[in-house]
C-alpha cells in the first residue's frame, strides 16, 4: 500500500503539473479536492484517466469518484482492492 501511495504521489505531481509540491510532504489523509494542493474536479478527472490506463480501474461516476478521491489513502485503497494489475 505504501508503495502504491508513493507511486500515486509522483504521478500526481507529474500529470497535474503541481510545480512546487513535493511528494514527500503531501498529506495522505487530507482532502484531495480543495485541499492545500489546490486541486479541482478537472484534476480528479485527469487522475481518473491515468488510473484506468495504468491500473485498469474504472471510476466512471460522480458518487463513486467523491468517495474514492476523498484522500490519497482512500484512492490507493480503492485501486489496491480493484486493480487486476497489482500483486496482492
Amino acid at each position: 500500500m505504501e508503495q502504491l501511495i508513493n507511486e500515486l504521489k509522483v504521478r500526481m505531481v507529474d500529470i497535474l503539473d503541481l510545480a512546487g509540491a513535493s511528494p514527500t510532504t503531501m498529506d495522505v489523509d487530507g482532502p484531495l479536492v480543495g485541499g492545500t494542493l489546490g486541486l479541482d474536479s478537472i484534476d480528479v478527472l485527469e487522475m481518473v484517466i491515468m488510473i484506468e490506463k495504468d491500473y485498469g480501474v474504472r471510476i466512471d461516476n460522480r458518487e463513486l469518484g467523491e468517495r474514492v478521491f476523498a484522500s490519497l489513502t482512500t484512492l490507493a485503497a480503492y485501486i489496491y482492492e480493484n486493480s487486476p494489475r497489482l500483486k496482492k
Binding site: 503539473d17 510545480a19 478537472i42 478527472l45 485527469e46 484517466i49
Partner: protein, 721 residues
Amino acid sequence: MTRERVFIAGMGVVSPLGSGVAETRSALAGGLSGIRPLSLFQTPGNIPHPVGQVRCQLGGHSIPRTHQLARIAADQAMANCREAPDVVVVGTTTGGMHTTESLLKDKNDDPGAYRWHSAGSVTEDIAGRFGCKGAVLTVSTACSSGAVAIKIALEMLRTGKARRALAGGADSLCRLTYYGFNTLQLIDPEGARPLDKDRRGLSVAEGAGMLLLVAGDPSNAVAELLGAGLSCDAFHPAAPQPEGQGAYRAMRSALEDAGLAVSDIDYINLHGTGTPDNDLAEARAVNRMFMDFQPLVSSVKGAIGHPLAAAGAIEVVIAAICIAGQLVPANTGASFPDPALKLSPVMSPRHTRVRTVLSNSFGFGGNNASVVIGAPADRATPASAVIGPMRVVAGACFTGAGNTARTLAHLSAGASCKGVLSVDEISSDLSARLVRRLKYLPRLAMALADEAHRRSGAKEPPSSIFLGTGWGALSETHEFLSSLFETSEKFSSPTNFIGSVHNAPAGHVAIMFGATGANVTTTGGDYSFEQALMTAYHLGRGEGKTALVIGADEYHEKLSGLFDPSVQPDDIPSAGGGALILASDSTPAGVTVFPGFSAMAENHSDVVAALVQSLGGSDRIKACFGVLLAGIPGAHRSAGAAQLEAFLASSGFKQPVIEYRKLVGEFASASAVAAFMAVNFTQAGTIPGPLCNGRAVQLSGKGCLVLGLGKFVTAMEVVLR
C-alpha cells in the same frame, strides 16, 4: 434619436428533429426526440452513446459537415430574401474538425486537405454564398456561440452598421466533442434528461440555426429580437458558478436590454443541458430572478441533444416557433423533475399564449448569453446610444523578440521580431499556480492581459474581454487527438479537451481579472484581431468601464503548417500577439482606435474603391494618416500587394508604408501587434527612422492607418483625439 428595432425576417434550422421550420415545429408539437445512438463514426471498443445526430440528407462531401449544416440553415433563412446580407455573424466551435480529425488520424500531411479546417471558413462560405459585402464575423464562445453571434448582429443593426444581418450558429458532431464530453463524465448513457432527478449529463449533438435579421421593418416579421445580454462567470474553465451568478447576470442584462420586466416573460427556453451542475446553477439563477413570476420553463436538449455552438441559434428559432405557433415545447427526456431545482418544467407540449420568450445559452469559459424575442407589436424604443471610436488606455505586445519593451526596442531599430518565445518566457510574470495545466495560448493571452493592465496603471482591471485568434489552442487540440488515436480512441485528457476550445484563453483572462462582463472570442484566420476589435466596439462599452481586446496565436510544429497557409511561405516560425485596453468614455485627449472597414475581397468587384470610400476618400486619408501599416499575410502575397498598390494609387497616399509582417513575422494575429505599434507611433508623434528608409517621420498630429489585405480587406484607424 430612437434605436432601430430589429426583426426576425427569415429562419432556418436543421437539427436531429429534422430540417426546416415546419418539420421542427411538428416534431416539437409531437413531443418527439431525435436522440439515438451515434452512427456518424465508429467508436472502437465502446458501445456508442446516444447523441443528437442529424439524419436528413446533407449536401455533399466536398465541404465538412459543419459547413453543410450551416448552408442548409442559411439557405432556408435567406429563401425569401433577394438582397445580400450586410453582415454575416456565425458561431461555431468545431468548424471543419470532423474532417480534420479523420485526416490527422490517417496522417495526411497535405495542407490543401485542411483548407476547410478553420471555424472562420464556415462563416466565409456562407458570406460568399450570399455575396455579403460587409463584416464577416465568426464567434467561438463554445456552447453560447450561436446566441452571442445573434447579440453581435443585434448591436450592428441597432447602430446602423447594417440593415440586414444573417446570424446564427452551426456545429457538427466530431470525435473531439464526443470523446471530450465523455472524458469529463458529462454524457448521460441513457440520453439527456434535463432537470430530471436522475440526470447524468448531456447528449452531444449537431445542427445549425440561422436568422435573417432586419432593422426597422416589421413587415413579414416572424418575431422581434427584443434584446440580449452577455456575461462571464469568471469562475472556472468548464464548471458553472454553482449559484448561477453568471447566468443571472446574463438574463438580467437581456431583460434590461429589451426594456422588459420579469413578469413580461411567458416562457424560458432553458440552457438545460442535463448535466447535474448546469441545471442546478441555472435553476438557482431562474429562481433568484423570477421569484413569484416564474414563467413556463423547459429545455429542448432532451429532444435535440446539445448542438454546442448551434444551440443558441437553434433555440432562438424554436423560441420564434413557440411565439408563431403559441406552443411551449416539452422538457423531453425527463420523467421525474428534480425537486432540488424548484422548477416546474412543462412535461408535454402545451398550446398556450406565448408572447415573449427568454432563451438561455451558457458555455465553457463561463461564457453566458441570454436572448429575448417577442411577437412583433407596438413598442416604445429606447434612445440609441451614440457610439464613436474608443480611447486606448494602454496596450502590450509579445513577439519572438520578447515582451512589450523588447518588441518596441527591436521595432524602433527596424530589427526583426520573428521567432517563437518559449512557454516559460511567455509566462515568466504569471504565478505558477495560475498557469498550472495551461499550455501556450492561454498563457500568451494572460501574459498580454497582465502586461497591458500593469502598463495602464489602473486599479480596476478591464471588465469585458474580447479575443481574436486565428487558430485557437493548437497544442491542446493536437495532444487531445493524438492521445485519443494512440490509445485506439480509449483515453484522452479532459484538461486538453477543455483547453481546446477557442474561447478557453479568454476565459482564463476573465478568471485572472474577475472580469464578469461580456467575454467574446472571435476567429477568422489572419483577420481575427480585427473581428475582436469590431466586437468590442459594439459590445465593450460602458461608462467607467474598460474593455480588453487581445489578438494571440501560437505556433504549433505539426498543426500550424497544415492549417495556416500564411505561415507556410516563411522559413522562420513566429508567434505572439497584442492587446489594447479601450475606454468608451468621453475623455477628450488621447489616441483612439476605430475598426473602420472589413470585407471579404472576393465578394466585391472593387474592394479597394469601397475601402477608400469608407475611409472618407482621398482627402481625408491624406489629412488624417501619416503612415500606413500594411498587413499582407503570406497566403495572399500577390493579391495583397496588388490591393496595396491600388490603394496607394486611388488614395494618392504618399507617406511611408510599413509592411509589418516582414518585421513581426507570420502569425494570424500579427495585426494586433501592428495596432499596438500604431498606437505607440501616434502617441509619440514620430515614426523611428529605421522603419522609414533611415529618416524619422514626424506625424504632426496625424495618426496611423492599419490595413489588412489579401482574402479580407480591413482598416483600423488610429488617430489622436
